[in-house]
Symmetry: C2
Subunit: 333 residues, 2 copies
DNA sequence: GCAGGTCATCGAAGCGCTTCGACGCGAAGG
DNA sequence: CCTTCGCGTCGAAGCGCTTCGATGACCTGC
């Protein structure tokens, strides 16, 4: 069974090849009757345009690249959610998604762009001093970054507003009347890498706490149970009156609750805990965690929209920050 | 800066277009001097073959589709590891990866295959009665499945040998002298969906336990802390002499340890725990969990290899089972 | 010294699609 | 009644690459 081409459709419908093309693309007016006849033939024959031929002739592959990091300390569930929403949204725009890993580096981006395999690029987990940024600036293909490099000038960046997220946590604890609070962040390695979001959360947290006149403390946090336990113990030893704890580390959130239990602190009676993490993790904990959501799906959707707009030649804002949302559950009062 | 085509390279090197093509593909003998001249021109001009044109002319897109599930109860980290290893391995074969979500269903597969967007398909998380299987059977493009449908006849399937994994856990506990053991599995919904791997683990576990003459019990397990706690409590109430516990549920593994702690059972002194999960989760727990690894990377690599072999027209085995590996840590004795 | 065979290279024919200019036709306008 | 216009359609020219058959140049062996 030979594959069906546009010529087969044209013959079957009794029209020219170009007419079929125009029916399918809608780029020229076609009479209703002809359109219907063509559409019927398409369906009857089971025609699917050849992607390569289309890309060659139209200079549009209808594919975008999604570049995911795969380093240690990554937040897998969020990443998956994000990837899923990118794929789903891209499909709504009739595009497909080529998956790349960050370890292909700038060369990889150049390769897929120069070979016209993709029309645009979506990069996740951009670092402050990301070596790929200079390339993106000079590439003809449009790109959208998740995260912010040091200088976003001339780029298009999307991210959760992590500073607001940190501040939101501090605000919430302040509203509840807590006076001494602390933030347990990502593993040290994440700060060293300079991904930005971790610092921004801390900064927002500290700033808001200061605004409320609270005693506040913020430090990195590793992810093994024993290290979390030690960190929590140390914190409580140093600051016996600590009553509010923010955890910006998805892998550690459950362990923090376990550690508090062992250390004889009830949640939320003795210590209120607020996490910055996906909802499912917050809901699965005991007690269920008050949390600030990382809206991975929104970020993905928004990133694709911006990229599509750029593909259409529209101007888009350099920077888009998504508003975090606090959900109050059982772990804070 | 117009994009560089093969004609530009040919002119620059003073040869015919076809010669450049043959240098690049190696499909015909080319003298060393000419080859070098062409290669130099390629480098100097920064030539990258146009993917669409190549696909059109050669009928090979050098792209494979990776279809990931995105349902509840999925094991995200494993999924990511898997995806990563697929991408990395595919690149070694000079192929790229198109990411699709399972919710595009059989139509989606048909679309990318019929449009020649991809040369082959890799499906993850295939179910016992997967509606996509009939399509795969009749598709011209080769495919490889991760997981096993009811009838793997005529397909190519790869998976971890879950029955062996379950048996390995039972063997280990038997060797340590435990007489009453139990397995806590995936959430109920996973069994209902009929994904197969969960049942196979249970079956292997029960069979091996029987072989050793042990009292054994196997049941599903939800993933919230409270439900895990309740399940563990119930189990210990019903079976006071239970001393070995296998957890085949990554999200629940940490909670099981927390529950045992609350219930006053020491690990491993009172109860030995063995998990079937990725190493990082096992290592991050306290005590570190003896575990059977889900070798996501091996599965991904193997799946890509099989797919590439099929693309070359080679015959490959219908079924490939990967041997699980037990790592002894602190939680069992 | 010439038929026969290699080896390296070339030219041209597509691959299946989009897009541009052209064309025929009926309606509108003078 | 003839020109003008716009609508709907067609034909053909590529898009950049692979691949097939052809062509020389050169070597071999008798």
């Amino acid at each position: 069974m030979r594959t069906v081409t546009i010529a087969d459709v044209a013959k079957h419908a009794g029209v020219a090849v170009s007419t079929v093309s125009y029916v399918l693309s809608g780029k020229r007016a076609i009479s209703a009757t002809t359109r219907q006849r063509v559409l019927d033939s398409v369906r009857v024959l089971g025609y699917h345009p050849n992607a390569g031929a289309r890309a060659l002739a139209s200079k549009r592959a209808k594919v975008i690249a999604l570049v995911l990091p795969l380093r240690a300390g990554m937040n897998l569930p969020v990443l998956m959610q994000f990837a899923t929403s990118v794929v789903t949204t891209a499909r709504q725009y009739d595009h497909d998604v080529l998956l790349m890993t960050a370890d292909e580096g700038a060369d990889g981006l150049h390769r897929v762009a120069a070979s016209a395999l993709v029309d645009g690029l979506l990069l996740m987990d951009v670092e402050i001093h990301d070596p790929r940024v200079p390339l993106l600036r000079k590439l003809a293909e449009p790109s959208v970054l998740i995260g912010f490099p040091a200088d976003p000038e001339g780029l298009t960046c999307v991210d959760l507003d992590f500073a607001r997220a940190g501040a939101l946590c501090a605000d919430h604890l302040a509203d509840l009347g807590h006076r001494e609070i602390a933030l347990l962040g990502a593993p040290r390695v994440v700060y060293e890498r300079g991904t930005g979001f971790a610092e921004r959360t801390m900064a927002g947290f500290v700033e808001a706490a200061g605004r409320h006149g609270l005693e506040a403390d913020a430090r990195p946090c590793e992810e093994s149970f024993d290290e979390v336990h030690a960190a929590v113990k140390l914190l409580l030893d140093e600051r016996p009156r600590l009553s509010g704890l923010v955890v910006h580390n998805e892998a550690a959130a459950g362990h923090v609750l376990g550690a508090l239990r062992i250390l004889g602190r009830r949640v939320p009676e003795d210590v209120s805990v607020v996490a910055i993490c996906p909802d499912d993790i917050a809901e699965r904990a005991s007690p269920a965690l008050t949390s600030v959501l990382i809206p991975a799906e929104d970020v993905g959707r928004q990133a694709v929209r911006l990229l599509m707009a750029k593909l259409e030649g529209q101007a888009v804002p350099e920077s888009t920050l998504l508003e975090p949302r606090l959900t109050i559950r059982e772990s804070s009062r």
